[in-house]
Subunit: 161 residues, 2 copies
DNA sequence: TTAATATATTTTAAGTTTGAAATTTTAGGC
DNA sequence: GCCTAAAATTTCAAACTTAAAATATATTAA
């Protein structure tokens, strides 16, 4: 005996489509607010903040390729951003002993200080935007997202250029 | 008598920051997969798909400004996309009687057909990506997102240029 | 050693996105 | 009618992003 799953699967795929659109709308809304705050209150941009955040997490520096890998953006992308940060004295490039190809990008003390200021506000903005979520809500959403992420991470290994 | 809320609020803001990063990672991962599929399997892009999707939802056409409002992208952005779609015979601009400033963007029959083909695959991709979510998961996440969206929609009225 | 291959990064060209300025048209007050 | 303000759209410059080509260095194998 077989089961007709189509009659149930059809609405499920629609429900999944709807929740995806809602998820996207939420993420875009929050991200837009963050971009706006970074621009209006700090004269900077999200890509710059992302790079600084990654560099702050690795005080010993990150190779350019590790940085782009970590942020899931292209190689050429971070070059320009680190260039700008370097011009402004917020980051610098350090030679890697034993490998003249590679360079470590690092935050300067000034860059770290600037980032910590940004990060503090960033946490504040998020805290307000997610005002309605208590720990239980967070745990529930987190568990649900883990299901999707684990299912997805299987085949995300490399989408080579 | 007053309560010291800081000792509890501090970790909550950190938890909110973490769930935001996880939400963003999930949305970016799914969006990246959609972009890849649109490019590799259909030779098109997500912004084009979004515009076609909006136009398909309004068969009588959308003013350019309504279109950019609906998609939450800049005015200048949709101009170029509708231009391209028009060149390819997928969309067209219709004059609005009584207002020479405005134009209605509309899908052509060819555009509608192309969109329906895309939309069918799109629903399939999402259905697979959210494979792990049953109706209960969807409802739980949906309710949680509603909390954030409703809280956010209060002040999202206009961030005028 | 030398040649071939692989790795790390930058450069380049093309396309996207944004916010603001410019353009055109409409609407209202006088 | 005429003038100013508002509205709809496009144009523009700047920043971002990507994939691919170019450059430089490292590693491996013959």
């Amino acid at each position: 005996m077989t089961f007709d799953t189509t009659s149930k699967q059809e609405p499920l795929s629609k429900a999944r489509l709807r929740i995806w659109l809602k998820l996207l709308k939420t993420a875009n809304g929050i991200e837009g607010e963050i971009r706006r705050n970074l621009r209006d209150q700090h004269g900077t941009t999200l890509p710059r903040f992302d790079v600084m955040s990654a560099l702050a997490r690795f005080p010993d520096g990150l190779k350019m390729s590790d940085l782009s890998n970590f942020l899931k953006v292209s190689n050429g992308n971070v070059t320009g951003i680190v260039d700008k940060l370097t011009e402004e004295g917020l980051a610098l490039r350090v030679a890697v002993p034993g490998d003249k190809r590679a360079q470590l990008a690092q935050l300067t003390p000034k860059g770290l200080q600037a980032f910590e200021e940004l990060a503090h506000h960033h946490e504040d903005w998020i805290n307000k935007l997610l005002d309605g979520w208590a720990v239980e809500d967070i745990d529930a959403v987190s568990a649900a997202l883990d299901v999707v992420l684990s299912h997805h991470s299987d085949k995300e290994s490399d989408h080579a250029q």
